[in-house]
């Protein structure tokens, strides 16, 4: 991240100095302002889902779901840390339901819990699965198309499903196989 950030920043700065140095300050302040408006939107989504999540946790609904998925997720992520497993389960369920915004806090919780076990493999696998998107229902896109007057707004459902499944299976597969080959 540091390398990417530094590279893009420096190259853009050089170009900007040549073309229009006056645009620098407005652009930077604009970016900072956008971070706050985005944070406000994110807070609304998180408030809703983390509020619900906390209620579900207190009546041990999430424990049930975690237990149900444990044979699968435990083996895949090679962990039996209950806090991490719960985070992973909730993260994956939110993703599959298409509420991606709600998935992030649980992933972060799982990543932090896994840090205590030094389980780098599971952290990175969770990152890969999330970063390749595992949405089953592309709700935002369907809503956008319907609003633009599409005749069949949800006809992108099948192609999206194929693509999102492919990208996740491909990336996770390569990572898992790569880790195995590395160890041998």
């Amino acid at each position: 991240m540091n390398a990417v950030f530094g590279f893009i920043f420096i190259v853009s700065l050089i170009a900007l100095c040549v073309i229009s140095p006056a645009d620098f300050l407005p652009a930077m302040l604009d970016g900072a302002e956008k971070s706050l408006t985005t944070a406000a939107t994110l807070f609304c989504v998180y408030a809703l889902w983390m509020g619900l999540g906390n209620v579900a946790e207190k009546c041990s609904l999430t424990k049930g779901a975690t237990k149900l998925l444990k044979p699968l997720s435990g083996k895949l992520f090679k962990t039996d840390n209950p806090e991490a497993l719960e985070g992973i389960t909730l993260n994956l369920s939110c993703n599959l339901l298409g509420i991606g915004g709600a998935a992030t806090p649980y992933a972060v919780r799982a990543v932090n819990a896994l840090e205590k076990d030094k389980n780098e493999f599971a952290q990175k696998l969770l990152f890969i699965i999330n970063a390749t998107s595992i949405q089953i229902l592309p709700t935002t896109v369907i809503a956008l198309r319907a609003a633009a007057g599409s005749a069949a707004a949800s006809d992108i459902f099948a192609p999206s499903l194929i693509c999102t499944a492919f990208s996740t299976v491909f990336a996770a597969g390569i990572y898992i196989l790569g880790c195995r080959a590395w160890r041998r």
Partner: protein
């Protein structure tokens, strides 16, 4: 379909009431955590958005788009989508704005729009996710995972354009 989310809430709240959980207290406790979590994201967001703005106003993003167009067309990706493919890993808002633009310009049912929708729906903001997930950790050796994700996202883009031609 729209009923799924309210029903989830209903089920959780009923179970909570039956099991005598203090619903209001726990709901607000969750929101409190949401506040803390959102605040912890702001520094990452600010830095990344500044970088994106800078990249945009320096016209480098346009130049890169122009430069990559021929290569993308050769792989079957319509040149109109080059910018969307480039923006998506960095910015969810930026790519959503651009997706809206594409849909308005080419019509919701055109091949271009359908491709754009599929690749928007099947990919994620990779750099943003990597920054947020690993913000609190000290050692972050993420080069390999990020590379794997980017390669797979790009392959998926090629496949998406192909599938949209058939389906």
């Amino acid at each position: 379909m729209a009923a799924i989310i309210p029903v989830i809430f209903l089920v959780v709240f009923i179970v909570a009431a039956v099991r005598k959980v203090k619903i209001y207290d726990e709901f607000s406790a969750g929101i409190k955590e949401a506040g803390r979590f959102t605040l912890s994201l702001v520094p990452c967001l600010a830095a990344i958005f500044m970088m994106c703005e800078l990249f945009e106003v320096s016209t480098l993003s346009d130049k890169l788009t122009q430069f990559l167009k021929p290569a993308f067309s050769a792989l079957g990706i319509p040149p109109e989508l080059t910018k969307l493919v480039l923006i998506k890993p960095f910015s969810g808002n930026g790519s959503l704005a651009y997706l809206t633009e594409i849909i308005n310009e080419y019509g919701a049912d055109s091949y271009i729009s359908r491709c754009a929708c599929v690749l928007y729906g099947s990919s994620e903001t990779v750099f943003y996710i990597s920054a947020v997930y690993f913000a609190s950790l000290k050692r972050k050796n993420l080069a390999v995972p990020i590379l794997i994700v980017l390669i797979s996202t790009f392959l998926t883009t090629v496949i998406a354009c192909l599938i949209c031609k058939i389906l």
